[in-house]
């Protein structure tokens, strides 16, 4: 079950990653686990200790019927794309 994961620029720089990384995973949580095997530490950047997705991290999962926000247990489909997107909030602080 291979999925293509779109990595935000902040994490590309931090872990010296490609813009798109390919991993074997069945769920969003497994995507984080598999990324962590190649980029140790990244799991903690994406997930809370209880296994949920971090508060300001959004994960969008491509399905046959469109692109949907995912939770840790959301299934990912073979050959599809997953986007990791930081929350964007602006104006209050430079």
């Amino acid at each position: 079950m291979s999925v293509r994961v779109h990595i935000p620029s902040a994490l590309q720089a931090l872990y010296r990653m490609q813009r798109i990384e390919e991993v074997e995973a069945h769920t969003v949580g497994e995507v984080a686990t598999m990324l962590n095997e190649r980029f140790p530490g990244i799991y903690d950047r994406l997930m809370e200790p209880d296994g949920s997705i971090r508060r300001y991290v959004n994960v969008f999962v491509e399905r046959e019927d469109g692109r949907w926000p995912g939770r840790a247990d959301t299934q990912v489909e073979n050959g599809k794309h997953v986007w990791i997107v930081p929350n964007i909030a602006g104006g209050a602080r430079p």
Binding site: L14, Y15, D44, E48, P49, G51, R54
Partner: protein, 365 residues
């Protein structure tokens, strides 16, 4: 600033900002500085140098991706960022949101380090920051459910280890006060006797004081100093009791505190107007120095600007251990003021940086 790599004996000036870290180094003349920068876009709350292996550690933070303690083995040329398990156990509601302070644990082994975090907690690593464990005896202290946040949040922002006894550890928590362990972190006691908490109904509680920064000198580790929300204090008995030494200063409020590298009786503060107006009084950038443990204070402003309504945060001042000790002050508006002569004369060393969160000093070994 010319290019050359850090060399043995160089002074390291580590600057953490709202937008990345900046490392400067110079020979002890401190006339020609070199620079590199790292961590684009990340908030850097503190940096420290471990002279045992010349590692530099940075407390890097992101509102989205959380707290990461990063280590550089090559003066910022590259960074390691595993930083796993820098968080409270999953079965609690507490979460680590930022890393605020780092302190090497004294001893023969490099790679042993403490980290202070928000929500207030202490963590320890023995593998160069690759993985962390909570110091639960402090984090779950019986007081901890009643610790209240200060203006910056509920943060553990200062860690001081007695250089003569690594089992004696002090931490500062806003707004809970100073805590001390005498047994390597197994038990902790509040050490705030004599320190005011004017914002509480009870002015001298066991805990709840808003310590902003404290320090000790390695030559006299039984003496502690602290800049508090409500005054400046000295303890002659390892924090058991404190006496106020604010008299002579223009304000009781300020953030950083520093001790001269070679003279444990000489100390520095940067008073601000007060809690409601956190800028230097009258727009006169001034560092205040005492040569006698806080009995008398003198204003140092030769070379410092007027009409400058500047803010200096809790990690914003450091001293070096050169023969003529240097003093460095970083502002929230991106200047670093430098005195090469113990505070007598000042100049702008760097300007136009992002808001400065921390200024730290090391020496290349």
């Amino acid at each position: 600033m010319a290019e050359r790599s850090p060399e043995k004996g160089d002074v390291l000036l580590m600057v953490g900002t709202r937008k990345g870290s900046f490392l400067y180094w110079s020979d002890p003349d401190r006339k020609e500085w070199h620079r590199n920068m790292s961590h684009d876009g990340w908030m850097i709350h503190h940096m420290t140098h471990d002279p045992r292996d010349n590692s530099i550690y940075a407390a890097t933070n992101s509102d989205v991706f959380g707290a990461v303690v990063q280590r550089s083995p090559d003066f910022g040329g590259s960074w390691e960022q595993r930083s796993e398990k820098l968080d409270f156990p999953a079965d609690t509601e507490r979460r680590v949101r930022k890393a605020w302070h780092l302190a090497p644990k004294p001893g023969d082994s490099p790679g042993h380090l403490y980290a202070g975090v928000e929500r207030a907690g202490l963590f320890i690593t023995d593998d160069y920051g690759a993985s962390w464990a909570p110091v639960t005896e402090l984090n779950d202290h019986t007081h901890s459910e009643n610790w209240n946040p200060g203006g910056g949040g509920l943060i553990l922002h200062t860690i001081v280890v007695d250089p003569e006894d690594p089992d004696r550890i002090y931490v500062g928590i806003s707004a809970a006060g100073v805590y001390r362990s005498d047994d390597g972190g197994k038990t902790w006691a509040a050490k705030n006797v004599g320190v005011r908490a004017d914002f509480l109904e009870e002015k001298f509680p066991e805990f709840g004081q808003c310590v902003h920064k404290f320090a000790l000198h390695p030559a006299r580790p039984e003496v502690l100093y602290q800049q508090n929300h409500c005054g400046v204090y000295r303890s002659n008995d390892r924090g058991d009791t404190w006496v106020e030494i604010t008299q002579g200063l223009p304000s009781e409020f300020g953030f950083p505190f520093a001790i001269h590298a070679h003279d444990p009786d000489t100390v520095y503060v940067v008073p601000l107007v007060g809690s409601e107006n956190r800028v230097v009084p009258e727009g006169k950038m001034t560092v205040w120095r005492s040569r006698d443990k806080g009995s008398k204070w003198e204003a140092l402003r030769s070379g410092l600007p007027d009409g400058a309504f500047l803010t200096i945060l809790r990690e914003g001042m450091a001293v070096d251990d050169c023969e003529s000790s240097g003093v460095y002050v970083g502002t929230q508006t991106g200047q670093i003021f430098f005195s090469p002569d113990e505070g007598e004369n000042w100049k702008v060393l760097v300007d136009f940086l992002p808001p400065i969160y921390s200024v730290s000093i090391g020496r290349v070994t």
